[in-house]
Subunit: 191 residues, 2 copies
């Protein structure tokens, strides 16, 4: 049985902790999980059903009072083996489409002052993301120190991806500010 990337993403979360479908969706929305994309529950619930049918995860219903029952999923030994195999398989290289970059590429056609607005908006968003990542990074380094690179716990994964998050956002915010400065210069010129 074929497993989609979303399927493996779910398995990788369940390797850290057992979760309900609702939890999986919430985990993927957390800022430090930026690389998961934000899958909707309408995609997650059917995917969980498929993974269970394939025997990679199991579920138990936990009854609750006042709120709906939770169906909590856990990774099976088969699921863990399957995940481990995927981890060392070659990963396809895919360059994603970026709507803002397509616009940047056409900025010679636009009014600088008007175009500037959305770049400023993205700058604000990514500055805040950078801030969040840097804070979490500092906390993690304080707790674990240079051991992080040698750990065999989920912290090691967090360390690798958070470092990427900080680097990515720092570089992106730098570029956004550079574009904004150029657009301001052009706006002044075009008056």
């Amino acid at each position: 049985m074929y497993i989609s990337v979303l399927g493996y993403a779910i398995l990788s979360l369940l390797a850290r902790a057992s979760l309900s479908g609702y939890d999986v969706a919430r985990e993927m929305k957390r800022p430090h999980a930026f690389f998961y994309g934000q899958a909707q529950t309408s995609q997650i619930y059917p995917e969980l059903a498929r993974l269970q049918e394939a025997g990679l995860i199991s579920s138990t219903v936990i009854e609750q009072q006042g709120r709906p029952d939770r169906r909590v999923y856990a990774l099976t030994p088969t699921g863990l083996r399957r995940l481990r195999r995927w981890l060392v398989e070659p990963t396809p290289i895919a360059e994603a489409r970026s709507e803002l970059l397509i616009k940047a590429h056409s900025l010679w056609l636009a009014d600088a002052a008007e175009a500037l607005v959305q770049f400023a908006e993205h700058e604000r968003y990514h500055s805040r993301q950078l801030d969040v990542y840097e804070t979490q990074m500092a906390e993690m380094e304080q707790h674990f120190g240079p051991e992080l690179a040698l750990m065999d716990s989920p912290r090691f994964g967090d360390y690798l991806t958070l470092t990427r998050g900080v680097g990515y956002e720092r570089e992106y915010v730098g570029w956004l500010r550079w574009v904004i400065a150029i657009l301001e210069q052009r706006a002044r010129r075009d008056g």
Copy 2:
């Protein structure tokens, strides 16, 4: 009539030059157009038909000997207006899913030496991309110099996106090498 991001991407290419469906696909595959994603002709041809039906582009058939005729599309005045409007509209912020980052997040479960291979592969690919971008950047700066930031030609768009390409790949390659060094260290330890 609603236009998809792919539709606008096509319009933005046709604002620079008239192209056939085949040309559009080829343009989107060129390395300096990394942010367009790589749309397939099976998506491009129907999209071109829709854009023409909406009156945003027009087409003329050019007969050729020895090879199939070309249908060349050009942006109409309506299409240009529509594109210009889109350029200054707010752009949704979307964090894309990254398969390699999901794997990095789970690397505490994997054998370091085995996992290393694909990171090395990605490092090779992105090093080459960086090289291509830097070469093109150097050429562009030699031809146009600091005027680039003030130009009202497609060169301005190229300048903005190429700068992003260089920054992105430089930071990504740096991170990949850092991960590889850590995995090598762990591989030696685990022996």
